[in-house]
């Protein structure tokens, strides 16, 4: 499997590009005015499940930093780091799933969603607000509420879009051992 490292690098590049396009241009209006639902975390969770923690962390880091650059408000480091942390934690699920072999059953759906729940809770419930307080000295109740709202929205989008993507991808892959030798 020598090809794997090159493939991971390309996956990081294309993944970050997808993350950017979804985050920047695919805005689903939410019930709260001026807030859009970020679909990119569903994609990130799927890429993590397929390519592992290192790819996940870098896709989150590069993709989020590029989005911030393109808006020109400077890089909001605390949230960029939280995206990377989500990538690392979510990437741990890749060892338990065999998406590339076309396996994604009911049990895998549960595993995937338990992991994304925990990863989002840590990234937006702890990492992002704590870094906001340490780096920018913002008031605690504001950043924890922002983190909670953002985290909850991300959990819902990941549950819907991430799961859909995994199911669709697994269906499109040839199953492991689906070919038998005729005798």
């Amino acid at each position: 499997m020598k090809n794997n490292s090159v493939k991971t690098i390309v996956a990081i590049g294309i993944g970050a590009a997808l993350f950017f396009v979804l985050g920047r241009f695919v805005a689903i209006p939410s019930p709260v005015p001026n807030t859009n639902i970020s679909t990119q975390y569903g994609l990130l969770a799927f890429m993590c499940a397929l390519f592992g923690p290192i790819a996940g962390a870098l896709i989150g880091l590069i993709g989020h930093a590029l989005i911030d650059f393109s808006y020109g408000w400077g890089i909001w480091w605390s949230w960029v780091v939280a995206s990377a942390v989500f990538g690392i934690l979510m990437g741990l699920v890749s060892r338990r799933l065999h998406l590339a072999d076309g396996e994604f059953g009911k049990k895998d759906i549960v595993t995937f969603n338990l992991f994304q729940l925990a990863a989002h809770a840590i990234a937006w419930g702890i990492v992002a607000p704590v870094l906001d307080i340490v780096m920018y000295a913002e008031p605690a109740n504001k950043v924890f509420l922002q983190g909670a709202v953002g985290g909850l929205a991300n959990i819902v989008t990941t549950a819907v879009i991430g799961t859909l993507l995994c199911v669709a991808y697994a269906k499109a892959r040839p199953k492991k051992g689906s070919l038998k030798e005729e005798r």
């Binding site: 090809n3 490292s5 090159v6 493939k7 690098i9 390309v10 996956a11 990081i12 590049g13 294309i14 970050a16 590009a17 997808l18 950017f20 396009v21 979804l22 920047r24 241009f25 695919v26 689903i28 209006p29 939410s30 019930p31 001026n34 639902i37 679909t39 569903g42 994609l43 799927f46 870098l58 590069i62 993709g63 590029l66 650059f69 393109s70 808006y71 020109g72 408000w73 400077g74 890089i75 480091w77 780096m135 920018y136 000295a137 913002e138 008031p139 605690a140 109740n141 504001k142 509420l145 922002q146 819902v156 989008t157 819907v160 879009i161 859909l164 993507l165 669709a168 991808y169 499109a172």
Partner: protein, 275 residues
């Protein structure tokens, strides 16, 4: 397709600096502005950054679109801080000078206003520099500069790939989205939230599955050309440092040092005029 990162090609002293220099300066500058809440330094930084903006010959109308987002973001953040913690300034500075009351807990104090002034100054100190970086750095040179400042070339190449494929993926997204809308998919406010998410899925699935094929093709092409065989790579867009580059980096390092020194002198991140 319009260039999303807004690179403006125009000869100026800032454009002549290498991408690596501008990246280092951006990092040093933004850390200098981030680490301190000393109003004196925060008041100097916006003046300096506006001066550099003039030097770069970037016009206001080149960046007005990005500036709009930033102003909204800045105002929203300030309003949220006040709504959630109207007494944050009091707890930071330890004194309380009441100005007037808006009812309930919302008493406006001099400390709170001073804290907001610092927040706004922080934005004004960093925004022009970020805009400057985005407008004067050729995206193709960006990956080469990442490698120059010590990021592994495989990661730098991943960034280059991302920048290269963003326009392609954007175009593909629009094609798929139009095709699906023609088949009756609705993503506007008229639909319920779950329906909206599901229809987003109907667009994203073809987009992402075709991107997976793209990953396969590109990585095969790169392996065939021996990518990743050697420890080092040269860059087509890489440039040598000149005296101006070293001067710019030294200046920004000085700013960071000043910021750290002020934090020591003030005995914390805040400069307190109320005591």
């Amino acid at each position: 397709m319009r260039n999303i990162f807004n690179y403006v090609d125009r000869p100026s002293p800032i454009h002549r600096l290498t991408g690596a220099t501008k990246l280092v300066c951006l990092l040093l500058w933004s850390f200098a502005a981030m680490l301190t809440y000393d109003t004196r330094l925060l008041a100097v930084l916006p003046v300096l950054s506006l001066g550099m903006f003039m030097l770069s010959r970037i016009r206001l109308k080149d960046v007005s679109f990005m500036l709009g987002f930033t102003v909204v973001f800045m105002v929203l953040n300030n309003v949220l801080v006040f709504l959630f913690a109207p007494q944050h300034g009091v707890s930071l500075y330890g004194t309380r000078h009441k100005l007037f009351s808006l009812g309930g807990n919302y008493v406006v104090t001099a400390e709170q206003l001073f804290y907001h002034l610092n927040l706004v100054l922080k934005y004004l100190a960093t925004i022009p520099i970020v805009l400057l970086f985005v407008c004067t750095t050729n995206p193709s040179e960006f990956a080469a500069s990442l490698n120059r400042i010590g990021v592994k070339y495989s990661v730098a190449c991943a960034v280059a790939l991302a920048l290269r494929y963003i326009p392609d993926i954007q175009r593909e997204y629009h094609d798929i989205s139009r095709a699906q809308q023609a088949r009756g998919i609705e993503m506007s406010r008229k639909q319920s939230l779950v329906k909206r998410l599901r229809s987003a899925g109907a667009i994203l699935i073809p987009l992402i599955l075709s991107s997976m094929d793209r990953i396969e093709t590109i990585s095969n092409a790169m392996s065939l050309r021996g990518f990743g065989k050697n420890k080092k790579r040269t860059w087509y867009m890489g440039r040598r440092f000149t005296a101006a580059d070293f001067a710019a980096m030294a200046f920004c390092a000085l700013l960071l040092a000043a910021s750290l020194w002020l934090n020591r002198v003030n005995g914390g991140r805040f400069w307190n005029p109320f005591q």
